[in-house]
Symmetry: C5
Subunit: 307 residues, 5 copies
């Protein structure tokens, strides 16, 4: 149990954080020691679990998804975090090896400041869940920034295929985030409704606060979804508009020059008997004809509103 | 506490309005004095909060979003407004510095007319919430006017890319408004359902009225959303229609003149042995041929319904 | 109170119908006389109210939207109708001046036939609400007829931009109707559930009937909405299909004649040393070449399935 | 009462089936005889009623829509069927004249086999409702077959406008079916929940079975709806794809031959002083130039991935 | 009863698995022996049943759809599985002949290891339902892999019509899966809520686990649906983008060469009196003119942002 970080929170309260789930032996030993249902141990080892809470008599079991705002190219990474809350202990299991997100809570604990030290294990659990939910906001802020960038690009008419893929990636990440956040609301609602003695009365206002934040995250996710949807349609409309412009130019050029080219083609024919060719005023007459045709076509195009 | 506008509403009732949240010291001193939960103080200082109500024993806590109908170019601005309602006091905290929206209520109070003076702090709270919800209508009216303008533009076929961006902006503002208004319904429902003694029986009909208005706002937001959606599709359809027209003209011109140009090209060739060239009736014969081809092609186009 | 039409329905039952809401003095005097809450008076004067019902101890308050099927060009008009039902009186307030919709009820009353005379004020209220809901069916039938007309036009491929605008107008009117009808269901549900002694047991089956009709209206509105949506997509598909046809013709013509024109162009060049030009069989050879090219291109087009 | 088909089901149980609602006198006499609420008689005469059930003390009233799978060209026909279930009688009213759907039940009754004869009127009602719901499956199977046909056509790229209309008709019929089936679920739920003594305990499992079937119909309707929606989008995508192909060929042909035609045009000019024309190697040089241009353009097109 | 595989699970517990439903006689004999309602026997023989559970006093009846991940070309196959759970027996009926999915459970039973042998028939039922739900994950993983493949193809711009059909097939299979999974949630909820003594307290945590898995499946189905939808729109956008590119090239080529070809056409005319033709500087002047026109057109195109 040496890899696990055991911290005495308060006399009688222990926090054990397991980073990485490779050492299933360790998890099993912890499960044995704290008498946790093997079914739940399986759930916490099997990543890709749906966020949920289970109220047992002696402990609470929580599964969540923790997002870490991506560093470089903006890809969102996430990992599963499971918690077991007992009367005097909190076990947390992180899928990933680097639990940077919990560092802030750990630091506050080590420095002995803040109210975390003065409260029970349930408050510690709240602090960690709060950190996870706050991270959702960071990820959302990243998505929102990228969406605005794409929005600017598209509205300034730089409709490169790259923008289409960027929009699709934003939608996909938003869908992933939504899948992680939706169940959090009902999870905390269960914690608040459930009469579990493990969640003290004093911790409830804090959980209600997390609940509000989760609601805010869900609504922002929906907002992003609607905006991305709208932007996808804007993109299609602008591409169509632009194609319209391009084709209009093609049509105008062709409409004017194709008939003229035909006219000059006529008098390029080599027939021996073409009386016009010998007339002295024929050449200027052709110019007049062509001028007339051009004006007629321009008038036609202008009437259609294409000029 | 000098920046705050303290107004004696009735013997024993105080209204303190804080404009701008920069002075966190002031907010904390107020919180201390009225014994408000630090968690709620944090909420009211942290702008971008989800609209909500919290019923505590000694006071009610409300967060709302106040929209100010944009002046010049129609961009909607909004700010967070928080309220703390006690038995004999009402604290309001505005994010922005210029609280013009509350001026009407303040004026009525100063002039000592209206029923606000004769009622308790809860009626004052109602009056302010009512002002905020009424402002939603103003914003909606602005959106609605702009939508109609865009509608006229699009239906009169002036499909400039500017219209596409205008539609997108309308959708975005509508989404923002919806996010602000949706929770207001449940907020007031909580106030009405909750048996808080802070909301007197006499104030309930007024709150029910605000509830009706909030419902009306929500439904109008949905209506605008559907109309914008429909208009986006109309725009795409009209652009396609128009492209169809443009391409049809291109096709008609090309279908007629490209074969004719080929024919005149044939007799422009310089072969020494081209028997036709020497025939006296060859030139008129080519004209007849071309007339025949033209009639055939026109018939073909007319049969397709393109002329 | 002379402009108001007062009709004794039965000994002790009075129906007062106010047409037009300009005379606020009259409304206030009526409100005073029947002791109606000023808040509700405001609601009934402020048109654009959401349909709703309010159960007070001494009276019921109802707001509805009455649609009048358009006469000429099919634009739907609507107005607000408010009702106050007391134990022995019914006040109705119409926004518009011409209350033709209520004429049928009035005539039945004047002629003294039907069961309206034998029942209380609540039955009269039912009869008026029933008239209003029946009018929704008339409006829906109009929308439905116009939709079918547009459907025929679109499926027969006359995709003029006028059809796009017509579809958009249908959608808009449907949205407006939906906004008016949705709350009616919950309104009547409130009347049926509420234990108000003002609604007698004998009137309930009739209200349940109106409820069924309102449900039917709501579902027909949804059906029209789905059909309009489908038709919008059909239109876009048909326009695309048709554009495809047009472009295919353009491509076929160009694919065949552009290479041929190039070939005849070659032998139109005036180089002094072009050995081919002097050969006696060159001209027929070019014809053979062109025939070969044409056959090759036709085969290519046929293989692509474009001919 | 001679037109009505009266069948003694069991001592004391009568089934009267009225085909066609033209003879309102007959319906009224039946209503009088079985003491049925005139409001319900109106409902059953007024076709286009929403499917519903009404529990009265002495009888049950049911309205349903019966679909008859179309014979020839696949158009779906439907009619209203109303039922009045009393303790010892069942009245059924069919809108249409030919009640073929009930024939199976009738035959079983006449032949005296099956359990229908041994049970009460409520079981007979179940058998008829079951027949109606089973007919929904037949209609759905028809829709499903036609959808598959359209699917095959579209995926094999035969995107004729006929397919677009076919898809629209499928959607419309699906919408009509959905409108008829949705209320059936709640109808039967009301029958099952309601403590009406008219529905015996022994009949409940059968009704639950019909309930399951109605659920299955509703879900299949939704599935068809999603598939049709998907297919509409597939069609649009394939049309766009195909247009892309067509335009690509046009562009390739034009990109290669339009510059070449310009080059040969140059040397077709008749200027007296064109030094190139006299050079012996000029003609082959032009061929080399054209070969070079062609290779350059083909490389360009290949790089774009258009060849 | 020899075709049926009868396995003694524990003293007093029997599992009979029927593979293939052709032998209706066998099913009826089993039904007789275990006294099962003929209505349910009909349900289990009639494949295409909606997943459901029925709680009877002496037994539970379950219908499910079991998916087998496709082997070769990725088409999903599914079959109906029905279960009847009594106090000391479990009957399972598979539509297909090859019940490979249950092999794992059977092997564990035969080898006498695992906890299945130590528990009652309800635990065995749980184990089978769990196997079925786990198979959904396999099918989903297959769909997900294929979706990613299509995604890569589409984003790398290989928009062949094959991708459109592939997307449509993915959507269809997802729809089929959703129809099978949705009812499972409510099914297990019924099992958990229902106070049936057939489901022991000890089995409930396991069922809750299956419930979580079913929720996860449902949410993944929704996620896939959203992703497919997004990808369909991405495809359309990219096709439009690409068509735009193609048409732009066509327009650029035509815009430049069509006017030039007209110019050279002019001087290809054979009029006797064309003063320009005799001028020595005319030919270079035409080149200058053409250079000028080309530059002007290129500037125009560059300003439009098309180059």
């Amino acid at each position: 149990m040496d890899e696990a970080i055991g911290l005495r929170v308060r006399p009688g309260v222990t926090w054990i954080n397991v980073e990485g789930l490779e050492d299933t032996g360790l998890v099993e030993r912890l499960g044995d020691h704290f008498r946790i249902d093997p079914l739940l141990l399986e759930d916490l080892l099997h990543v890709g679990q749906r966020p949920k809470v289970e109220l047992r008599n002696e402990y609470l079991f929580l599964v969540l998804r923790m997002f870490t705002p991506a560093d470089g190219n903006g890809e969102v990474r996430y990992e599963q975090v499971s918690m077991v809350l007992g009367g005097d202990f909190l076990l947390t299991f992180q899928e990933g090896q680097e639990g940077d997100a919990f560092d802030a809570v750990r630091r506050r604990l080590r420095e002995g400041r803040g109210i975390i030290r003065d409260r029970g294990a349930d408050y510690l659990m709240y602090a960690l869940v709060d950190t996870i939910v706050d991270n959702y906001f960071l990820v959302l802020a990243g998505l929102s920034d990228r969406l605005e960038e794409v929005e600017d690009h598209i509205l300034e008419s730089a409709q490169t295929p790259a923008m289409v893929s960027a929009l699709h990636r934003l939608r996909r990440e938003n869908i992933i985030l939504r899948k992680a956040v939706w169940p959090v609301r009902e999870m905390i609602a269960t914690l608040l409704r459930g009469d579990s003695p493990l969640v003290h009365e004093a911790t409830r206002p804090y959980l209600r606060d997390v609940q509000d934040h989760a609601m805010e995250v869900v609504e922002t996710v929906e907002t992003l979804r609607d905006l991305t949807q709208s932007l996808t349609e804007v993109h299609l409309s602008l591409v169509s508009n632009r194609m319209n412009e391009v084709i209009k130019v093609l049509t105008i050029i062709s409409t004017i020059f194709v008939p003229l080219t035909f006219i000059v083609g006529i008098y390029g024919m080599n027939f021996r008997y073409m009386p016009e060719l010998a007339l002295p005023w024929a050449y200027p007459a052709v110019w007049v004809l062509m001028a007339f045709v051009t004006v007629a076509l321009l008038t036609f195009l202008r009437r259609r509103g294409w000029l």
